[in-house]
């Protein structure tokens, strides 16, 4: 197989130059000192990592975990019954599944904007409620943590439904009938038979949702306003406005380490990592 090497060459070159090298540079910068005009240079230091212990940044890290966790929990709660519905549908499964994946193909930015259009002070929901006389002043629906969770759930729900559906699809329908025949009520069948069977799918979906939520940038930026800052926003800010690249790099390394740890655990447990 002489050909094999040549086939791998372009992909290897691109990944080495544009993925591995940039990551290495970020790791190196995280150990440098910020220059007077925003550059970075000697001496080598661990100062940037020490700053992460500052309550301000530790708080942001905790909050990022919290928001990602809540979003994942909501996706679990919303995704499981939807996956069950599709798996148990008598007909048109492809259509129902397609309707879940369709938003995935539409622009993430557009989907976020659609919610901003509904939720802002002058948005559709507030306009309607004001018009009906239900409220006197617009409700603060946008620019808070709940809006961020809503945006993340909306964006990543398909990631939960697909793996759960994949597991439920293979489930033997006779098990459900057996449970029913043996006197289990419908909700008991779901709780004690279907849910345990769906565990691998739920775990895979949980990881697939949690990872992008943890590093989210766009949703907290647009739907959280200035109030709901997460790790991703701090990193972007350090590299653009604040121009403290070494600190931004240290944050990136820590975020990357957390994501890699999660992905590694998921992969070892046989979750859907995405790659061979």
């Amino acid at each position: 197989m002489v050909m094999r090497k040549w086939f791998l060459l372009p992909a290897r070159a691109v990944m080495a130059a544009l993925f591995v090298a940039p990551m290495a540079i970020v790791a190196a910068y995280s150990l440098l000192t910020r220059g007077a005009y925003g550059g970075q240079g000697a001496p080598w230091t661990l100062e940037n990592y020490a700053r992460l212990l500052d309550p301000l940044y530790a708080g942001i890290a905790v909050k990022s975990f919290w928001i990602a966790g809540v979003s994942t929990a909501v996706c679990l709660a919303m995704g499981f019954p939807l996956a069950l519905f599709i798996a148990r549908a008598r007909s048109r499964k492809a259509l129902w599944l397609g309707l879940v994946t369709l938003p995935f193909w539409t622009s993430f930015l557009v989907r976020t904007y659609a919610w901003m259009f509904l939720l802002r002070d002058t948005g559709l929901v507030n306009t309607l409620l004001l018009g009906l006389g239900v409220i006197r002043e617009p409700l603060p629906l946008l620019y808070n943590d709940s809006a961020v969770v809503l945006g993340l759930v909306y964006g990543y729900l398909p990631f939960m439904v697909l793996p759960v559906y994949a597991v439920l699809e293979k489930m033997d329908g006779a098990l459900l009938e057996a449970a029913g025949d043996l006197g289990a009520r419908p909700w008991e069948v779901v709780w004690r038979v279907v849910l345990p069977l769906a565990k691998p799918g739920l775990a895979a979906g949980g990881v697939l949702v949690f990872i992008p939520c943890l590093g989210a940038y766009l949703t907290p930026d647009l739907m959280g306003g200035g109030k709901s800052i997460l790790i991703g926003n701090v990193i972007q800010n350090q590299f653009t406005t604040a121009r403290d690249w070494p600190f931004g790099a240290a944050l990136s390394v820590v975020l990357m380490a957390m994501v890699m740890a999660l992905a590694w655990v998921a992969r070892r447990r046989g979750g859907e990592g995405g790659l061979p």
């Binding site: 992909a11 691109v14 544009l18 939807l82 369709l102 993430f108 904007y113 919610w115 890699m260 790659l275």
Partner: protein, 252 residues
Amino acid sequence: MRRGLAVYAALAYLFLHAPLLILAAFSFNTSKYTVWEGASLVWYRALWEDGRLLEAAWNSVLIGCAATVLATAMGTLAAYAMWKRGARWLEGAFFLSLVTPEVVMGVALLAFYQWVFHFLDVRLGMHTVIAAHVMFSLAYVVVVVMARLRTMDRSLEEAALDLGATEAETFWRVTLPRMAPAIGTAALLVFAISFDDYVITSLVAGVDSETLPMLIYTMARRGVSPAVNAISTIITVAVGVMILMAERWRRA
């Protein structure tokens, strides 16, 4: 239970699709505000006359096409080679690139480009955006094409070789045609991802390479403009049509 599930599913589908449908409906509203004042195409006309928007759309299409061709070609070759025999660190790099948060990838590329610019006389622009898009789409191409290859029978290639075909002929005339549907899907996916990307693009774009998502982001931040509803609707419909056509072509 079945009825309960069906009711729940109806609500869930409403949650998934109502926001976009409402957005589209209001793009035809005459009023600048969120009050219905009658249907018209004013906002679409406004888009057509907006030079900055047309340029951003053109940039997005160019970047999307370039990234699609390059990433699909490189990713297909790599997937085929990896199907023959694993390529450990490359697999690891692809896997990592899939889980890396976009913002981390963006700042890493920015830092890398700035470092390279010390030695070369280049600046941020279309080329840096295209390079970034090719990189982050490669793993998706490999995943899609590899999934197809896994369902294929290796003995077909062996048979071709036994019958005297060269390696290149085997690839070109036996395996590649059977990978075609997956390659088509992968290309579509790359274009959709590239056309949609804001986070990485905004970090590595130059002054001459504003893309459509960057413009929409700026407009969305600035406040309400039904013009944003109109572009959003066009993008959604265009992508939808593209997928339907691809689906038909795949079945044909």
